[in-house]
Each structure stands twice: as C-alpha cells, then as structure tokens.
C-alpha cells in the first residue's frame, strides 16, 4: 500500500503519455520516502526526473515548482520543465513523473568540508536573501536541511533541490526533518510561517559547524543554546542564532541584516585585536587572546549599557522634578 518504489533500470527510455516527450534514465540521483530522482537525458539536454507511484503527490509538487519558476524566486529552486504519466517497458504499475532542471554541484556539507567554514556564513546570508523572496511570494520552504541544499556555481550559489516540504504560508508544514524542525525541539508549532524557516536555517548553520546531527536530550532548549555557545563560529553569531531559534525575526530580511551587522562587528573587533597583538603578544597565544579580548569587550559593553540605563533614570527624574517645580511656580505666581 505505502509505496516502495522499485528501481528503473539505467538506460530505460521513459515516454510521456500526454506530451509524448522521451527521457533516457542515466543514473539515480536520490531516493526519498515517496519517489526516486534520476538524472535523465532529454532532447533539450540533461535534466532531473522524479518518478512516483503517487500521481497526486507529483501533481502537488509540480504546483510548487511552477510557482518557483516565477521571476524573483527563480534562483532558489530548480526550474520546472514537464509533467506526465510514464510509459516504459516493464513498468509494474501506474507511475507519474516530472522533469526539472538538473542542479549540479556538491551538497552544502560537502562544500563546506572542502572549502572551509568561512563559507558557512556567506552561504547562509545568500540563503536568507532567497528565503526573503520566497516568503514574499507567500511560500514557506519547510524542509530546509543540508541534504536539500546544493552549492552550484561558480560563482558559488546556494540552491534547493527538493520542494516536497514547500507549503503555502498559513498552512501546516507538509514535510520536515526532525533535527531541523521547530516542533521536534519544542520551540513552537509546525505552522508555515517565516519564523519556521528561520529556525531551520539556524539549525542548518549548527549542523554545518558541527558537521553532524545530535539527538534531543531531556532539556532541548538548553541543549541547543549550549551547542551554540560551544562552537567558536556559532558563538560569534550567538545573538542572531538564539533570536532565530526563538522566532524573534519576523522576516528573513531582518535576520539577514542582523547577521551582516554581527559580521561587521566581528571584523572591527578582529582588526583592533590584530593591532594589539602586533604590540605585545607572541604568535602562538593568538586564539586565547582573541577569546579573552572578546570576553572583556562583552563585559565592558554590558557595563556601559548598565550605566546608560541608570543615567536614563536620573535624567527622567530630573525632568519630572523641574516640570513639577515650574508648575508649582505657575500656580503660586499666577493663580494665587
């Protein structure tokens, strides 16, 4: 009943029942719970072809792909080419398929492993731009995870390859993966809204930094915070990441600007530290120094903010007093 899609032999030519296009299966690209994606050769070149026994699921995903093909969202998902019912020799039962752009490139995690962690933030900011467009069109990506993200290029551009989880804003998320799911970690519902994607994006960043997933413990909230504090890269973006987990960014654009801002702060901090290091520190102690410096800076920042607050209070009292005095004078001088 629930389908276990049997493989199509490589080299098979699939014909479309309605549109009569031909596709030759070259190799398997990926397998999901409800279908298999193949690399296929068509008259127009290489393409990705998804086959499933569930023709309605295919229809539903094509609906999403078609809206992805509209202008501003175009860069994020694969373009849609064709949808049809399959005819090929030895087909066990009714099958439908759709054909889309073949997005070439390594998966996000592979890319980061090869090129280095400095790419993580760059790619996340790119992804935030794409998400901002997608959200504006009234869609929530849903199943955001490194396995669904490919870095194509050059220039390196992050793209999504599986739109099975993409849901109209306001509905319930169609498909998700536990580690990246807000509901699993107890941070909120599975309603399709921008904050849902932003939570997942923060988790993608955690996943990229640690290069692995971990199981939920007894105190999931604290566990995630500790994970962020425990990794140097994540620690630098601690404020942004925690706010994203808590659903404090109402839009992808807000989170993007917060990340950019945090990055600039770090840059200016770094350059200041470099000057200090040149003055006194011997080379091997760099890392420790940086940490200490940033910690003392954070402490200093806290102190000034406290001072600012008490200063504000003092000002308010002063103003209230002087207004009161003036009013008294007015009463005494003019009214009595």
């Amino acid at each position: 009943m629930m389908n276990s899609v049997s493989n199509i032999p490589l080299g098979t030519v699939i014909q479309g029942k309605w549109h009569h296009h031909h596709y030759r299966i070259v190799k398997e690209l990926g397998k999901g719970a409800n279908g298999v994606v193949y690399l296929a050769e068509s008259p127009h070149g290489q393409a990705a072809l998804k086959v499933s026994d569930d023709s309605m699921l295919i229809a539903s995903e094509v609906n999403v792909l078609k809206s992805f093909s509209k202008a501003p969202v175009k860069t994020m998902g694969p373009s849609f080419y064709d949808m049809d019912d399959a005819i090929y020799p030895g087909m066990p039962q009714k099958r439908s398929f759709y054909v889309m752009e073949y997005v070439r490139g390594p998966l996000l995690l592979e890319f980061v492993k090869q090129k280095g962690d400095e790419w993580i933030v760059v790619l996340m900011i790119q992804l935030l731009s794409s998400l901002a467009h997608l959200h504006q069109e009234g869609w929530i990506f849903g199943d955001l995870k490194p396995d669904n993200l490919i870095v194509s290029g050059p220039p390196a551009t992050i793209r999504c390859i599986d739109v099975g989880g993409t849901t109209k804003a306001g509905r319930a998320i169609k498909e998700y993966t536990e580690f990246f799911d807000r509901g699993y970690w107890g941070f909120g519902s599975r309603k399709a809204e921008p904050t849902y994607d932003l939570f997942a994006l923060a988790m993608v960043m955690v996943n990229c930094a640690y290069k692995k997933e971990f199981k939920k413990g007894a105190e999931p909230e604290k566990q995630l915070y500790r994970a962020i504090e425990g990794h140097p890269l994540l620690k630098r973006y601690e404020r942004v990441l925690k706010a994203a987990l808590q659903g404090k960014y109402q839009s992808a654009a807000n989170m993007k600007s917060a990340m950019l801002k945090e990055g600039q702060l770090i840059e200016s901090r770094k350059s200041r530290q470099k000057k200090q290091q040149q003055k006194n520190a011997p080379k091997p102690a760099v890392n420790q120094n940086q940490q200490v410096a940033s910690r003392s800076r954070a402490a200093a920042a806290k102190r000034t903010s406290v001072r600012k607050k008490s200063g504000g209070l003092f000002e308010t009292i002063l103003i209230v007093c002087s207004v009161l005095a003036l009013y008294c004078a007015y009463v005494v001088l003019f009214l009595l």
Partner: protein
C-alpha cells in the same frame, strides 16, 4: 463548500489479535460508517511475525485505510505520514465523487490531463488544511508493547503538534487494549490536544491478551457516542456534512 469531517481510527499494534471477534470484520463495519481504519505495525529488530503483519495489512484493507510496518524508532514520522496520507486519500475520494457527478462515471483524478490534476490537487490540499479531523488512537498494551509505550507517547504528542498547526479543528481520543477490567478501555476522551497524554501513560498497565476486534468495536462505539450527543444538541444538521463512503 461547507466544512467537512474526516473520521479515522489509528491502530498501533505489534502482534496478532488472539481474543474476541475478527478485527477485519469490525474494520469493514467501520468503513461502512465512514470511519477509515489505519494501522501501524511495529516490528522487532530481529523477529519477523508474518502472521501479525498480514493481519495489519488485512485490517487496513478492510477498513479502507492505509498501513505501514516500521521499527519503533521511526514511529513519530510514520504516525504523521499515515494520518495525513489517509486524510488526503479520504478527501481525494470525496473530490473524485464530485468529479464523477460533473464529468461522468469513469472520470478519476488520475485520468485527468496533468495540468488539470494540479488544480484538483490544490482543492484537495485546501480541504486537508481546513477539514475537521477526528482521530481515535487504539494502542495495543499487551505485554510485548511495554518497552515501546514511551515512544508511542512521544509520537502521539508530536502528531498533535503537526495537526494543530493546520487551520481546521482536531479532536483526539485514545483507547487501550486490553483495558483494566474489559477488553478495551477509553483512557482519553475527545480533546483538541494530546498534551494530557503525559499524565496518562505512566498509569497504563500492560496485559497478556490482544483483543484487537473488541477494541475496534469499542472505538466505533466511541465515535457514535459523540454523534448521538451532537444529535441531541443540534438535531440532524451535523450528519449531512460528514465525509465518507
């Protein structure tokens, strides 16, 4: 279109029924009353009970629902997939019927050209989002289920998180079998959220027999009790907009 109802029984079990009437018969009865019976069979790592899994398939087939056999670790995702898929299937059935009335007897969604299918699917998606869903979960509490119950609890709470993210309303209930003094016992009456499960599960005792048939009958009764109560309150308006076959 008026708001519709989808009624489901979700049976979670790991073995063959060995007491009372034939579960397949009761499942067929449920189907006749517009209640789909879906079944999740839990597999052991190194023991395959072919008889039990055949029964799982049979009950789902008779009850017009879907089934899935899984290891206990995959329960959470499976419970959701089965519930949602079964709901979509029911709604597709309803839409199919309407289509046949408009386009003639032999028209099914699959027979429409691909472009039109998308539009129909959009309607089904929309219905799935807004429909009133009523799920009665039947949990096998025979002795072998004992170590799996915490996972069952997690999976059910997770299910209610997912379904409550929809626009439509939900009602959940739970029944365990065998019950304390009878073959089956309702441990949670209709409620929109499953949060209260946390307090119920620790109190559950496990027993020896697996009276799947009687449990299904108890579940059916429970659906009826709601309807008759509603019937008293709102005369017979409610009945017209039930989805089903």
């Amino acid at each position: 279109m008026r708001k519709g109802h989808v009624n489901q029984i979700l049976l979670i079990t790991d073995g063959c029924s060995n007491h009372g009437e034939d579960p397949l018969a009761i499942a067929s009865l449920a189907k006749e009353q517009g209640i789909t019976v879906n079944v999740i069979g839990i597999m052991e790592e190194n023991r395959h009970d072919h008889e039990a899994m055949k029964e799982v398939e049979g009950i789902a087939l008779a009850g017009g629902g879907i089934y899935q056999v899984v290891y206990v670790q995959q329960l959470s995702q499976t419970v959701q997939m089965v519930t949602k898929k079964a709901m979509t299937q029911t709604l597709q059935g309803v839409v199919n019927k309407e289509l046949q009335q408009i386009l003639g007897k032999d028209t099914e969604i699959e027979e429409l050209p691909p472009d039109k299918r998308g539009e129909v699917m959009e309607v089904v998606d929309e219905l799935g989002e807004t429909v009133h869903l009523q799920v009665l979960v039947l949990v096998d509490t025979s002795a072998s289920m004992k170590p799996k119950l915490p996972t069952v609890k997690e999976a059910l709470i997770d299910l209610s998180i997912s379904l409550n993210s929809r626009i439509g309303e939900n009602q959940f209930g739970m029944c365990v079998f065998p019950g304390k003094n009878s073959d089956a016992e309702i441990v949670l009456n209709w409620t929109p959220r499953f949060d209260s499960l946390s307090s119920i599960f620790p109190k559950l005792t496990t027993g020896g027999i697996t009276p799947t048939g009687p449990a299904l009958r108890e579940a059916l009764q429970h659906f009826k009790s709601v309807r008759s109560r509603k019937g008293l309150l709102e005369a017979k308006e409610e009945h017209d907009d039930e989805f089903g076959f």
